[in-house]
């Protein structure tokens, strides 16, 4: 069997185990049982044992979450629509992610350090995803004059991540508020003033 697929089976099994037993109580035996991969094979692929399996599973699922998000919004016609779609998709996917919801409620002190350490990976990932869209806006003359696509991408990535985590004053289930957030906060200093069509409430 291919190495990648064994690893993925272990990660899938670990994700299911974490959903059932939590981050602290998931054991290599649980993962072996859930994945159908032997303990010995798990240790061969994850020499750090239980802790590594748990850590890698969180990072892997976080990466998959954002990859799915990228796929879901990639066809958007412009940056405003892309970010509106992204916020709606991400908020909903997070709300429906049963394992995340359980663990963030019961073991935030274990989960959040893993997510935060890994968001050092996630931020550049989101920024790199956004750069071509910002370059396209620049080429169409819609970027604010003087704005650099790379630094704008870093800023937008940070703020998107912030809004996915905490909606704050916005009701992100309401499309009108999502449009307001994207056009009057998120992109207001990134795109040229005339390039943003102000949403009508």
């Amino acid at each position: 069997m291919e190495t990648g697929s064994v690893q993925e089976r272990v990660l899938e099994g670990a994700l299911a185990s974490i959903g059932r037993y939590g981050l602290a109580r998931t054991t290599v035996d649980d993962v072996a049982q859930a994945s159908g991969v032997s303990r010995a094979t798990i240790y061969r692929h994850f020499p750090g044992g239980r802790d590594q399996v748990v850590r890698d599973t969180v990072a892997w699922e976080q990466g998959r979450f954002f990859a799915r998000l990228g796929e879901a919004v990639a066809g958007a016609p412009d940056l405003c629509v892309l970010l509106e779609d992204a916020l709606v998709f991400a908020r909903q996917a997070l709300a429906e992610h049963a394992v995340f919801q359980r663990v963030v409620e019961t073991e935030p002190e274990r989960l959040l350090p893993l997510l935060t350490v890994d968001s050092n990976r996630i931020l550049p990932f989101i920024a790199a995803f956004l750069v071509p869209y910002l370059e396209r806006e620049r080429d169409a003359g819609r970027l604010r004059p003087g704005a650099d696509p790379a630094s704008a991408a870093d800023y937008v990535a940070r703020m998107v991540l912030s809004c996915i985590g905490a909606a704050g004053v916005y009701d992100l289930d309401d499309p009108a508020e999502v449009r307001l957030l994207v056009r009057e906060q998120l992109l207001a200093g990134v795109l040229a003033p005339g390039a943003i069509l102000t949403p009508r409430p």
């Binding site: 935060t116 912030s162 009108a176």
Partner: protein, 207 residues
């Protein structure tokens, strides 16, 4: 474990509270002790020693670690609010106000020794108060405090949203510092580049 909001306008910890002087000593002592030892191993004795008061005095007013920490949280929320008021009081233009909030927030976050010790050594103790629902409470405290100041320059809804936006920026760079580690420079830079440059709407679109 359910996360109680760390930053919230709750009632002060105890009605039979210590004098403001003793309370201030205890809070400062606790912050120094957390900056040195962290939270997991923190004892009331550590706090008493750092505060320079006797164990008995400390226990009389703060029966245990939980009471000490509640006083610290209450005092720190007030300090945050006072700091925002002071930073904003002098601002005469919107650009100055935005930079004042950003600069104060970044310095408060980056220069908070107890917070930085916990982020580095016991992130699990503090991240629940800075992410997801915890972030929501912190953003609300900041937005509510900033709003009346920004109302000098824009409508109340937009002022609240802008206040929250500034808090988001500080929190993002605080939790994921730029590669050179200079949080204040980064925060002031993006506020200058991406927040000051925009034109606030004349009226609140949802008002």
């Amino acid at each position: 474990m359910t996360v109680e909001p760390l930053f919230s306008r709750g009632t002060p910890p105890d009605p039979r509270a210590a004098s403001p002087e003793v309370e201030a000593k205890v809070v400062e002592g606790a912050l120094r002790a957390i900056a040195r030892f962290g939270l997991a191993k923190l004892t009331v004795d550590d706090v008493a020693r750092e505060a320079g008061i006797s164990r008995a005095t400390l226990y009389r007013y703060f029966p245990g670690r939980g009471a000490v920490l509640a006083a610290v949280i209450h005092a720190e929320t007030e300090r945050l609010e006072r700091g925002l008021d002071e930073a904003l009081a002098e601002a005469t233009t919107l650009a100055e106000a935005l930079a004042a909030v950003a600069g104060f927030g970044a310095r408060a976050f980056a220069g908070h020794e107890a917070l930085q010790h916990l982020l580095a050594n016991e992130p699990g103790a503090v991240l629940p108060h800075l992410c997801f629902t915890g972030a929501d409470s912190l953003l609300t405290v900041c937005a509510d405090r900033i709003r009346p100041h920004l109302c000098r320059f824009m409508g109340p809804l937009q002022a609240r949203r802008t206040g929250e936006w500034l808090a988001r920026i500080v929190l993002s760079y605080g939790l994921a510092p730029p590669p050179d580690g200079r949080i204040e420079d980064a925060v002031l830079g993006v506020v200058r580049e991406f927040v000051v440059t925009r034109e606030p709407p004349e009226v609140d679109p949802l008002a």
